[in-house]
C-alpha cells in the first residue's frame, strides 16, 4: 500500500512540475507587453515596471525564481490590480468557491446516485426512462443558458431568490442547481450502468439462489459494488465543478475564485492567471491523488504491497 501511495505521490509532484512549466512557457509566449496602455507609457516608466516584476531578467533566471517561489507558496503579485499578491486573491475568494463547490458535489452525488439506482432497479420501466431523460437533459443544456434561465425565472419573474450573491442559505439554491445539472447526469448514468452490471452478475444470482432476501442482496452486494465506482468519478467531478464555477460565479455574481480567474483572463493579468492556474491544478491533482489512494483501499483488485506487472 505504501508503495502504491508513494508511486501516486511521485506522479502528483511530477504533474505539478509539468503544469507549472507549461504555464510558465505559455505565459512567456504571449505576444504583447503586459503594461501596455491606450495612453502611451513613456519608455522609462515601462522599464521600471518591467524591473519591478523581474521581467527584465533572462528567461532561465525568471524560471528558476518562479519555481523557487512556487515551493515557498509565493505566486507573485498581480500585474493589473496594483500591489496585491495572488495568494491574497485566493485567500479572499476561494472559501466562497469551496462552499459552493462542496454543496454542488454533495448534491450531484446524492441526486445522481438516487436517480441512477432508481433507473437500474426499474430497468426498462417508465422510471428508468424518466430518470434517464432527466439525466440526459442535464448534459444537453449548456450551463450558462441554464443559469441565465434559472436566474430570470426564479429571481425576477417569480422573485423567490436573490439575483446574485452568496450570503443566505437560499442563495445557494440557484447556483447549485446550475452547477450540479451536468454532474448529476453523469453520475446517474454511471451508477445505472454499474448497478445493472452488478445486478446481472453471477454472484448476485448465486446470492439469490442461496435464499438471501433482496434487501440483504442490496446492502451486501449491489450498493457496495454499484456505488463505489462513483468514487473514481470524484476527480473529474471536481474538475467539472471548477469549470462550471467559471460561468456560474460570473452569472450569479459570486466573488469566488472562478470569477477572479475569468476576470484575470479578460484583463490578461498574467501573474494572476498563472497563479490561479497553478492553484487549480493543485486542487485537481490533490483530488485525483486522494481518489487514487481511496480507490487503492477500496478495490481489492489493486493488490496492496505487490508491484503490479503491466501484463494484465
Amino acid at each position: 500500500m505504501f508503495r502504491y501511495i508513494l508511486n501516486k505521490f511521485v506522479f502528483f509532484v511530477l504533474a505539478m512540475f509539468v503544469l507549472a512549466s507549461i504555464t510558465f512557457i505559455l505565459m512567456k509566449a504571449i505576444p504583447g507587453d503586459p503594461f501596455v496602455s491606450e495612453k502611451a507609457v513613456p519608455p522609462d516608466v515601462k522599464a521600471r515596471l518591467l524591473a519591478q516584476y523581474g521581467l527584465d531578467k533572462p528567461l532561465y533566471v525568471q524560471y528558476v525564481t518562479y519555481l523557487g517561489n512556487l515551493l515557498t507558496g509565493d505566486l507573485g503579485i498581480s500585474m493589473k490590480l496594483a500591489n496585491r499578491a495572488v495568494v491574497d486573491f485566493i485567500r479572499d475568494s476561494f472559501p466562497l468557491s469551496l462552499k459552493l463547490g462542496i454543496t454542488a458535489i454533495f448534491t450531484s452525488v446524492i441526486i445522481g446516485v438516487t436517480l441512477g439506482m432508481t433507473a437500474a432497479f426499474r430497468h426498462r420501466k417508465l422510471m428508468d426512462s424518466t430518470a434517464m431523460v432527466i439525466a440526459v437533459l442535464g448534459v444537453s443544456v449548456p450551463s450558462f443558458v441554464m443559469a441565465a434561465i434559472l436566474q430570470w425565472l426564479f429571481a425576477v419573474r417569480i422573485p423567490m431568490f436573490n439575483v446574485v450573491g452568496l450570503v443566505q442559505a437560499k442563495d445557494y439554491v440557484l447556483p447549485t442547481m446550475a452547477l450540479s445539472a451536468m454532474p448529476i447526469a453523469y453520475i446517474a448514468r454511471l451508477t445505472r450502468s454499474n448497478m445493472l452490471e452488478v445486478l446481472h452478475s453471477d454472484y448476485i444470482k448465486t446470492a439469490r439462489a442461496k435464499g438471501l432476501n433482496s434487501w440483504q442482496i442490496m446492502r451486501r452486494h449491489v450498493l457496495r459494488n454499484g456505488i463505489l465506482p462513483v468514487v473514481t468519478f470524484l476527480g473529474p467531478l471536481t474538475a467539472n465543478v471548477i469549470t462550471g464555477s467559471f460561468i456560474i460565479e460570473q452569472i450569479f455574481g459570486i466573488a469566488g475564485l472562478g470569477k477572479i480567474y475569468v476576470q484575470s483572463i479578460g484583463n490578461r493579468d498574467y501573474s494572476l492567471i498563472m497563479g490561479i492556474t497553478i492553484f487549480y491544478g493543485l486542487i485537481l491533482m490533490t483530488a485525483r491523488f486522494f481518489t487514487d489512494v481511496a480507490y487503492g483501499f477500496i478495490d481489492p483488485r489493486i493488490k496492496l504491497g505487490k508491484r503490479k506487472e503491466g501484463s494484465a
Partner: protein, 316 residues
C-alpha cells in the same frame, strides 16, 4: 454433414452391405457453414437497430449533419450579409429563425454555426482517435519497460487539468478554429490511448495472435490486422463521447470570450450572444441552443445504445 436417418421399418431389419454407401469426403463441402454467418458488426447493427433510443439519436444526428451541409442553401439569405433595415426580426415566413442584431438571417447562421461546432467536435475527436490509437497501440503492444514509461508519461499529462490548459492556450495564441481544436486534443487523447492499451494487452496473448505470430506475421501487421479491429467497439463508444465534449468545451470557451472568431460563428458564440438579449429576442439564443442540446441528446442516446449493443453480456 447431417447424419442420414435410416427410417427403420419393422419388416426389414436385416442389414446388409448394400445398405451402406461410401461417404465421399468433399474437402470443400466440409468447410461450408450452412447457417448464415453473422459477423460481430452485423450483430451489433442488428441489436442497435432494435434499440429505438439509439436509432432516434442516429436519425437526429443524420438530420443535423445533413442540415449543416445543405442548411445555408435552403434559404436565399447569406449568413454574413447585413441588412440594417431588418435587424432583430422575429421568426417569420421570410426569416424562419428570425434575424440577428445586424439583420442577418438566423436560419443560415444556425447551420453555418452547426458546421463550425461539428467541425470542432469531429476534428477534435478524430485527432484524439489517431493519437490515442497510435500511442495506446504502441504502448500496449510493445509493453515492457518502454510501454511502462509511455504509460507514466500519459498519466502525467492526464493529470494536467484539460480546460485550464485549453484556456491558457487560447489566451496565448489567438482563438482560431485551429487553436481551439488543438487545445482540446492536448489531453483528450489519453483516455482513448488507455482503452486501446488495455484492450491490446488483453488480446495480445490470445491464441490467434500467438498463431499469427508464429506464422511470422510482422508486429505492425498483427497490430493493425488483429489487435486494433478488435478494440473498435470501445473506441467508437469513446468517440461518441469525445465529439459532444469538444462541442460543449467550445461553448464554454465562447462564454469566456475565447470562442471562434469572426467571420465564423459557432453555436457556442451564437448562444453566448443570444443570452445577452434572451428576454428581448429569445429566438437568437433559442435556435442555436436547441440545436446544441439536440446534438448532445442525440450523441448520448446513440452512444448509450451503441455501448449496450457492443456489450455481449447484455445480449438477450
Amino acid at each position: 454433414m447431417t447424419p442420414q436417418h435410416q427410417t427403420a421399418s419393422s419388416a426389414d431389419l436385416i442389414v446388409t452391405a448394400d445398405h451402406f454407401q461410401k461417404a465421399v469426403v468433399d474437402q470443400h463441402e466440409a468447410e461450408v457453414i450452412e447457417r448464415a454467418s453473422v459477423s460481430t458488426w452485423k450483430d451489433v447493427w442488428y441489436r442497435l437497430s432494435r434499440n429505438w433510443t439509439a436509432m432516434t439519436g442516429l436519425c437526429i444526428l443524420t438530420v443535423l449533419i445533413l442540415l449543416a451541409i445543405i442548411g445555408p442553401w435552403l434559404t436565399p439569405y447569406d449568413f454574413s450579409k447585413n441588412d440594417l433595415m431588418s435587424t432583430s426580426l422575429a421568426p417569420s415566413e421570410k426569416h424562419w429563425f428570425g434575424t440577428d442584431d445586424l439583420g442577418r438571417d438566423m436560419f443560415a447562421r444556425t447551420w453555418m454555426g452547426a458546421r463550425i461546432s461539428l467541425i470542432v467536435g469531429f476534428a477534435a475527436a478524430f485527432i484524439n482517435l489517431i493519437i490515442g490509437v497510435l500511442y495506446g497501440g504502441i504502448m500496449g503492444y510493445v509493453g515492457g519497460r518502454i510501454g511502462d514509461i509511455m504509460n507514466k508519461i500519459s498519466e502525467i499529462i492526464y493529470s494536467i487539468p484539460d480546460l485550464l490548459v485549453a484556456i491558457l492556450l487560447v489566451v496565448v495564441f489567438e482563438p482560431s478554429l485551429f487553436t481551439i481544436i488543438f487545445a482540446f486534443c492536448l489531453t483528450g487523447w489519453i483516455n482513448m490511448s488507455w482503452i486501446v492499451r488495455g484492450q491490446i494487452i488483453q488480446l495480445k496473448n490470445q491464441e490467434y495472435v500467438l498463431a499469427s505470430r508464429s506464422l511470422g506475421a510482422s508486429g505492425m501487421r498483427i497490430l493493425f490486422r488483429h489487435l486494433l479491429p478488435n478494440t473498435l467497439g470501445p473506441i467508437i463508444v469513446m468517440l461518441t463521447m469525445a465529439v459532444p465534449a469538444a462541442i460543449f468545451g467550445e461553448a464554454v470557451l465562447s462564454f469566456l470570450g475565447l470562442g471562434v472568431q469572426l467571420p465564423a460563428a459557432s453555436w457556442g458564440t451564437m448562444i453566448n450572444d443570444g443570452t445577452k438579449v434572451m428576454l428581448l429576442y429569445p429566438w437568437r439564443m433559442l435556435f442555436p441552443a436547441i440545436m446544441i442540446s439536440l446534438t448532445m441528446l442525440a450523441f448520448n442516446m446513440f452512444g448509450d445504445g451503441l455501448r449496450d449493443a457492443l456489450d455481449p453480456k447484455l445480449k438477450k
